[in-house]
């Protein structure tokens, strides 16, 4: 009787197990760079929803390329020059591509997101995870989640290769 009471008391006093915060699965990040990567602008022009794509891009496109608390970020075609690639530029946030026109940015940028098994966007930050950072060069292998003729395009990333920072170009 006493044992049962103590057991019940222990159960009552013990804290409920904390829910594990969502995070990007480590398996998403790969060591070997996928081959035959296209450009981000090529993806926007030549794919439709559901297509599997492999493309290379640089994280950036606006002052805050990463969406807070969501595994989603903006990338830019490597043909575009980020401010740090422009000689003499002293831009404080060189990943915002402020020197590019709005039209050029619209044509050369897309969103990359990481979703769960049910297709829902993961509720966690991607910034700083496994080398993901503004101006990081990445190769994404994924599926086109949406694309339209207004310049919008979102890719669900299945695998991401991050170019080592020292070799960033």
């Amino acid at each position: 009787m006493l044992t049962a009471f103590l057991f019940a008391l222990t159960l009552a006093l013990s804290e409920p197990p904390a829910a594990t915060p969502p995070s990007i699965p480590a398996a998403v990040f790969i060591e070997a760079m996928p081959k035959d990567a296209k450009s981000a602008s090529w993806v926007k022009k030549n794919t439709k929803q559901g297509d599997t794509v492999v493309f290379e891009a640089k994280i950036g496109g606006r002052a805050e390329p990463f969406v807070k608390n969501r595994a989603s970020f903006m990338v830019a075609d490597r043909a575009l020059k980020s401010c740090d690639e422009i000689e003499g530029d002293t831009c404080g946030k060189p990943w915002d591509y402020c020197c590019e026109s709005a039209e050029s940015k619209k044509a050369n940028m897309l969103m990359v997101q990481i979703v769960d098994a049910s297709g829902k966007l993961l509720k966690c930050d991607a910034n700083g995870v496994h080398g993901l950072a503004p101006l990081a060069v990445i190769v994404v292998e994924g599926v086109v989640a949406s694309v339209d003729d207004k310049g919008n395009c979102t890719v669900d990333a299945k695998k991401i290769w991050v170019k080592p920072a020292a070799k960033k170009s």
Binding site: K68, N69, Q113, G151
Partner: protein, 385 residues
Amino acid sequence: MKLLPFDYAIRNLGRSPKRLLLVIGGSALVCTLVLGSVAFSRGMETAMTASGLATNAFVVGSGSEESVERSEIPPSTGSILAASVDGLAMLAGQPAVSSEIHTAMPVSLVDAVSAEDAPPVLVRGFEPMAFAVHPQVRLREGRWPARGSDEVAAGPEALAKVPGSALGSHVAIAGVPFEIVGVFEAPGTVMHGEFWMRLDRLAQLTQRTTYSCVIAALGTAEIGDVDAFTSSRLDLESIAMTEHAYFAQLAEFFAPIRLLVLVTAILISSGGVLGGVNAMYAAFASRVREVGTLQALGFSRFAIAASLIVESTVACVSGSLVACVIGLALLDGVAIRFSMGSFGLAVDPSSLLAALLAGVLLGLLGAIPAIVRCLTLPIPSALRS
């Protein structure tokens, strides 16, 4: 360290009632101005905080994060957002998403002699869903403007900005007469000082093809969801934040103005500071021999300085208490109107504390010249004076 009795400092205050009044008056003037400027700052901050809800998403054109009045987003933004983000609050089966135009325009009475000098007042274009995202707003009298009509509703502070305006009167907005058909209130928020007209009419009046913002009640959705939406919609060229964050940022933006008000108050009050310090100096300087005597008896310079500081601080803090009474009786809630709306001076614990601290600081600083004068003199010279 042996100190002089507290009574000594207090009784010294009564030696010259005229000087004491001068010190208290000077301190009261300075502290009232400090209190007023902090009340201004706090009032603005409070209004900004109350105006923006943390449960609302605020979508504006990218690059216009600091001023919704400069923002331009496509009119379709609201409907696309409503269709794309799951979990938004619902009203009558519709997502609570309010598209709005915010613009400052000169408003005057229709028959005003000089409409050119009319002050700019914030005019908000709204649709009925605005009431779902702005629960602070309540209709006090009359009714809301009808769609497409030349009608406006006004907040009480907006009416105060246009002298003579009232329910039923006509005001000229951008030269076009509008009838005031309703008076609403949203106490403590910037909306209390706005004119509201229907969105379509304001778009027509301002010849705009874009809106200023979309405000959505989040419901079970999170700001991250709206942020992810605006980020993925490059065509909308918009960004999302909570309404609360927008106004907090706006409050930051106005920080230099608040600082300017404080600095101006301090500059204006420098006369009071000089008067008070001078009176305190004269009070102490007339006691040089007494200070010399205390030193001769064996009291340290520190003990004497501490006593002079207590005396000066008690006088100045008395002034700051007077300032607190003035603040609570005369300044609290006084309306400050500006183009964005209006807010009331907030004589809250922060501003009262600022006034008290100003008094303490004044007391400490005010005693320094006298302390230097009294305690740097050699004791024999002090005794001879």
